[in-house]
Structure formats: C-alpha cells, structure tokens
C-alpha cells in the first residue's frame, strides 16, 4: 500500500511502486485532470503539481510521490468555483479540445507562483515542453498573462 495525498485527500493505493503516478491518478483514483498523452514526458498533458512543482506524472514513479502534496487540475478549482487562473482560461475562451490543459495551466501556475512577473522569454521557456495540437496558443498566453497581471496587482 502506498499513501498518497492528492488534491487534499489521502488515498491508500495498492500499486506496484514503479507504476507511473499518472496511471494511479487516472486509473485507480479515476481523476480526470492528468491525461496520458505520450507516456514519455514530451507533451505535458499528464502534468500535476508535486509540492508545488510542475511534474510529468507519466515519468514519476508512484512511490516517489508518496508523502508529497499532489495537486491535479481538478484540485485547483471546480466549474462552480474555478481557480483565478482557470477563470482566466474561461474568460479568454482559451481552449479548443482541452486535452492539453493540465500541462498548460499547471505549468503556468507553478511558474507564476515562483515568479508572478516573468519575462516573455521566461514564460516561453517554461511552456516550451508543452504541446497544444489545436494551437490555441495565443489565447492561452493571453489567459496566463491576464492571471499574472491579477497576481501582481493583488500583491
């Protein structure tokens, strides 16, 4: 049994310790946020926050997440009470199919939590490992900048 702390809840999972965290989150725990895109840490769609850092859950063993705080896109907010960053994506209609959003939103959140005022280069560097095959790039960057501006003005 491996004890996991996911989205503020404690779970005991019966899994091979080497199982990728993604498969436990999406499979055993049936969470809808992290998604299997490539299984090789190349696309970002499986991204979760582990102790505040954006991590590719397809490339992390479940045992390495034990004892840490795991946050998924679902843990950030709900349709009724979205996180302000999620709200920014809603306001900008920054989505097409939506499969990539765990990678986009959580990667941006991890960055902006560290540095609410990144340069364009820093932002692009952080997002350079994230793919959106619908290419809603412009809207997504607008949503991220909108939230960053909110963060800065609330400081």
């Amino acid at each position: 049994m491996i004890a996991l702390q996911v989205d503020g809840r404690r779970h005991e999972v019966d899994a091979d310790p080497a199982t990728p965290l993604l498969h436990v989150l999406a499979g055993d725990l049936q969470l809808r946020g992290p998604k299997l895109g490539c299984g090789m840490a190349q696309c970002g769609s499986c991204t979760v926050l582990v102790d505040g850092r954006a991590v590719r859950s397809c490339a992390m063993r479940v045992k390495d997440a034990a004892g840490k705080q795991v946050t998924t896109l679902e843990g950030l907010g709900t349709p009724e009470r979205p996180h302000p960053l999620q709200q920014a994506f809603i306001d900008e209609q920054a989505v097409q199919c939506g499969f990539c959003l765990s990678g986009v939103i959580l990667t941006a959140k991890a960055l902006l939590d560290r540095n609410p005022d990144p340069t364009d280069e820093e932002l692009r560097w952080e997002l350079s490992g994230i793919l959106c095959r619908c290419f809603a790039h412009g809207r997504m960057l607008r949503a991220i900048r909108r939230y960053a501006a909110q963060l800065r003005s609330s400081r």
Binding site: D16, T19, P20, H23, A26, G27, D28, Q30, L31, R32, G33, K35, L36, G37, C38, G39, M40, Q42, C43, G44, S45, T72, L73, E74, L76, G77, T78, P79, P82, H83, Q86, F89, I90, Q93, V95, Q96, C97, G98, F99, C100, L101, V104, I105, L123, R124, E126, L127, S128, G129, I130, L131, C132, R133, C134, F135, A136, H137, G138, M140, L141
Partner: protein, 777 residues
Amino acid sequence: MKLSPDAVPSRRRFLAGSGALLVGFGAGSSRTALGWQGLGPDGGAPPRGDPDRLDSWLAVTTGGEVEAFTGKCELGQGILTAQVQLVAEELGVAAGRVRLLQCDTDRTPDQGTTSGSNSHPANFDGEGLARAAATAREALLARASERLGLPVDGLGVRDGVVFDAVDPSRRVGFAELVAGGSFDVPLSPTARRRAPERWTVLGTSFPRLDVPALATGSFEFVHNVRVPGMLHGAVVRPPGPGARLEGVDEGSVRDRPGLAGIVVRGDFVGVVADQPWRAFEAARQLRVSWTPGPPLPPREDLYQQLRTRKPSRDTLVVDSGDTPARLTAAAFVVEATYLHPYQMHGSLGTSCAVADVREDAATVWSPTQAVYPLRSALAMLLVLPERSIRVIYRRGSGCYGLNGADTVSYDAALLSQAIGAPVRVQLGRRDEMAWENFGNAQVVDQRVGVGEGGAIVAWDCESWSPRLGSRPGSDRPGNVVTGSLVGFPPEEHRARSPAPVPSGSFRNGSNAAPSYVTGCVAGRCGGTGTVTSERVLTHSVESVFFTGPLRAPGRLQNTFAHECLMDEVAARVGADPVGYRLRHLSDPRLAECVRRAAQAAGWEARPSPRPGRPGSGIASGRGIACVLYKGDNGYAAMVAEVDVNQDSGEVLARRLVVAHDCGPVSNPDGVKNQIEGGALQGLSRALGEEVTWGERGVTSVDWRSYRSLSLGAEVPEIECVLIDRRDQPALGAGETSITVVAAAVGNAVFDATGARLREVPFTPARVKAALAARGEG
C-alpha cells in the same frame, strides 16, 4: 496489403478458434448487469427514428426544457455551443434550457460524419437541426394560437413561453403545448427561420458551454469513461507495413500480474489486463514474431516514385482542350514543381475507446467522427447485427480528421468480444503515430502561360498523390490498421488511365483547380477565376502507408502549389501579388477577402521580392494566399509577414492577418478560435511537420521525431477580419485558414529574400538551400 482468404470471419469460427487463432482465455471477471437503459444522459427512451419527423430532432421535457438531438458532434471546434445557440434562437428559449445530445446511434439522427467543414452547411442552413427548430417554433405557435384563441401573428415567444403580444398575461408554456413530449409532426420545408437581423443568441460570441469543465479538469473525455467490470487492453502492432504475424509466445507474459488474456485474430494482437499500466507492460513484454514486409521505398525517392507508380487512377477535373496550344503561343511560361510530404494528425492524447461486447449486443463509447458508419463497420468486424450495436460518442483528444479514433474503437471491440468483458483501450504513442492514416503526400507540376499584356492565358496543372484506405465508412473496416490486420481489405484502388473527359459539372472539392481558372465543364463555369484555357489532371496512386483526411485534405497541398505559383508568375510579370490576383479573380467574395486581408495588413502594393533586401542576416517580407475552400465551402485570404534568418535558415512568422467569409457568422469568437488554431496548425505543418520512415517502418513516432510547434514557440497573434454575410448560406470555417498558411508564408519568404520554397516543410536546411539557389534560375 495482405488479404486474408477469410476476409469476413465468421463469429462461430472466430470463437471456436479455427480460422482465426485465439490464444486468449476467459477473464473470469464479474459481470454486472449493464443493459441499454441508464446509459444515455437521462436514460430515456430512444427518440431516434425517421429524420423527416420533428420528434427525431427535438423534444420538450415536462419541465419545459428543450432537448435537441444532433449527428454533428463537438470535437473541440465549438459546434456544440453553436448548435445550442441555434436551437435557443429559433425556439425563443434561453440557451441554459437547451440540452443537446450528440452522436449516439440510439438517440440521434444519422448525419453521417462530422467532417469536411460540413456541420454548418448541414445544420444551420435551413435543413437538419435548423429546419427542425424552425418547424418546432411553427408548431408551438400554431398550438398556442389554438389554445389562446389568437392569430399566430399576434403571439410572442420568449423564454419557452408563448404569449399574447397585447396582453402578455395570456400565456402558455412549451411543456403544455407538447403534451407527452411528442410533437408528432413532419419537418416542414417551409417553416420560417428567425430573420438574422433579429438574432439575439446566434451571431453573438456566446461562451462555449464546455469550457468551465475543461478548464477545471472535470470534463469527461472518452478516456475517462468507466464501465463496471471493465478491463484494460493494449495492442501489439506489426513492426512495419506488410509485416505478417508468425507467432505469439504466451509464455513470455505468463508471470505478468493482472493479465486477463492474449487475443490474436489474423495479424491483430492484443492483451487484456486488470489495469492500464499492466496491459501496456504485458504488451511490451509479449514476445511476438513477425515476417517482415518488403523494404519500404527510400524516403528521398518519394516524389519520383509518386510520378511513376502504377497503376494510377487519373481524373481530369477540367480540360478546355487548348492548353498545349495556348502555352506554346504564350509570351512566356512559368513552370514549377511543388512538393508536400505525408503529415500526421498527431493527436495530443492517444486514441481511446471503451467497448462492451456481449453475445448478442454491443455498446461502444468512441471518439469517432462517424457513429453510424462505425456501427456498420463494427457489425462486420464483430459479426453482429447492426441494430444490436450502439455507438455513443464521447470526446477524444482533438482529431483534425481521421486519427486513431475508429481503429481504437475496433481494438476495444475485438478485445471485449474475445475476452467477454468490457474493455478500454488507449493506444501507445508509437502505435498512434506509426499507424494512423496520414495526410497524403503530393507532387504538383504546373505550367502557366503569360500573354503579351502580362495576363495569364493558360494554366496547366498535374498532380500525383498516394492513397491507401481512408475513412472506413459503413463497409470498409480494412481502411484503417486494425480492420486490415484482422483481414479486411482496404478500399480497392481502382485504376483508370487515361482519365475520362470531364462531364457533369465543375467540382473542385479537393481544390485541385487553382482559384484563377474559369472551371468550365460542359459549357457551364463554376470556377472563381478568369483564365479560360485550363487543364487539371490528377493521379491517385497506391500508398505504402494508410492515408486519410487530415484537416484540409489535399486542399492544403493543392493550394500551397497554386498560390505559390501565382506568386511566381506575379513576380515574373513584375506585378503586385494582390493586384495580380484580383486581376484574375472573378468571384466577388473571394476578391473581397483578398482586398480586406491586404487592407487590414496595411499591404504596400509593389512587386516581390522586396527591393533593397539584405543579402544576409534577417530579411523581412510579406506574402498573400487565398482559397475558396472545397470550391464552395468558405472563403479565406491570409497575409503573412515573416522574418527569415538568412544565416540559420529559420523562418519566423511575425504576423498573420486573415479575412474570412463563411456566410452568416454563428459565433464570432468561435470562428476566430477556429481561424487562429487553423493558422497556427498550418504554420506548424509548414515549418516542421513531416512523416519519416526507414526501410522497416515509420520513424516519426514521438514528439522528438515529429516536430510540432510547442506552446513556448514564438508565434504571431492572428488578426481576423470576419465578413458576416447573413443573407448567404452557412459555410464551413474549420479548415479555411489552415489551407492558405504554407502558401502565404512561402510567398513571404520569397518577398523577404528572393528565395522560392517549393517543398514543405520549410526546414532551415531547405531554406538555406533555397537561399543558396537564388539567382541560379
């Protein structure tokens, strides 16, 4: 391709294991009762039936909510919200009280495939859902008129209530007017649509209904569908095209935990386990031996092979008969060959489906664009009656055409049938990318004759493209890999050479003919241009890889060739590319798009290339391209501004300006989202995407070997000019902008540098080669 002698396997033989090898064993999983009820959104009785009856399209619940049933499904393109807007607008009910059920063979009308930018033409143009909604409004008004004893023109409709326009306290709700929830009337071809000038919901940037769930990660994709007793499958694909199964070593996975079975049918191999990861691991560990197929033809020879491959299916799209003479008599001829590689859909999420196949019935949750055709194909695959199969659409990762959605639905169904339990399959990245139906490669040769006055006098165009399989439709499961592995043949390549003389009417569904010809067939002209001497000949040859529609199939490849050659001609004549296009366009809407894009971009009228351009370092330029998509389904013109790093060969798009005309705009922000996404996807395809292979198989099998512009890439904002024509039929908007990107960018590179790019993608190496070839010809 391999053709198994028992192409249509019998279920009995399959289950008995003779004629098709089955080394599976029962899962022994507990089966919970999961019948037909309770699976739909509300578990109600299926209203589907005659598409000419209103009840097949619309229902009013006892609570006064409107339920609408559509065969055009949400793929991420926004059509769900637009259809809700349509129903809300026509019926006079708040959008929040409209529920749209999409693409379920037990519940929604058969509208074929959600593809080809046809959802707007099908459902917003006076037929389909639009006609149903207009019929419903008419029926509700007629019934209210009777109930209230008032003439119809004295009634108003708002928020699901019909009222006396003079005394609004006299009123009756929709639910009361549709007793028992059934209209029981036929669709009325004369029912009047709401006048567009009175639209309050349609025509507005109504926010997409699915975005809050998507942004918060709670949206149910097909990947999240869970069924009681469900197991997880994984497939083992052959190493390359033409490989045949030799044997499967069951012992190699005997110790795998949670393994429920190994399934072999023909050359199809899969495993089933209790957890997805265990299924992947078992599939990886399973020792399977294959007889390799013949070596694949070398990639560097691809385009030469396409020209010479036999047999060929030849089509003359148009032929005025006088092009050889006109070209000979021309002042000069501009001649060039344009090349486009195989590209892939490359969905971000690998394809996934869930199937529950039983002795006498099956339910499949699929991200297919085609629930009804899939049902028919599954009936062949599973040897079950069509009516016993239910296909329910659940959204997958964006598909952009025929990705792995259908093939993975077959995978799940085959494994479920063999193992006797519901099975979910999500493909691995390599299997998705190596075996999808690629967008076709293409070679286009063109010769354009120019007269003394500088006008084009003849346009001759000949192209070659490979094809294998495609959409399976209702009876060709072998058109995608799984069906083929099981033994169904792909659609036969019907050779035809020489091409018959064009007859009937001019059709430009693949944009094989450039925008600048008159398109005259049998005395009637359907083209958008002025050039009367015209010949367009296409050759379809067999492909070694599966091919299928990838966003703007063929149309992008053709438009790249035509619009770049048009630019070459304008440059030879010393004419401004915009003015020269306008000189040869007869279609006022296409010409308007060209003018509006140029205007919005601040286009400076002058010939290309730019005078005074630097010979090294960064050079900047602009280019334009336009298209009437499919010859009749949406207009677009794009101006691209680029920087070319002449030292590194890198191309950076600085600005993309699109003028767009799809008739009446249902949702301006939704159309913009499509234009923007199409433009950047087109940019990614133009700059970096190319399927690669070696002797034994495809080698572009992940995101290192198949390059997609990442979210961190420096990409331009897309500026959209929407030309809203509410007096015109509704046209498509999903594939217009992508069609013109490669051409607009290639033309901008020429303007910046004087180097002409004639092969996609515009990799730094190709750009540098083109730069080095400047002045050589």
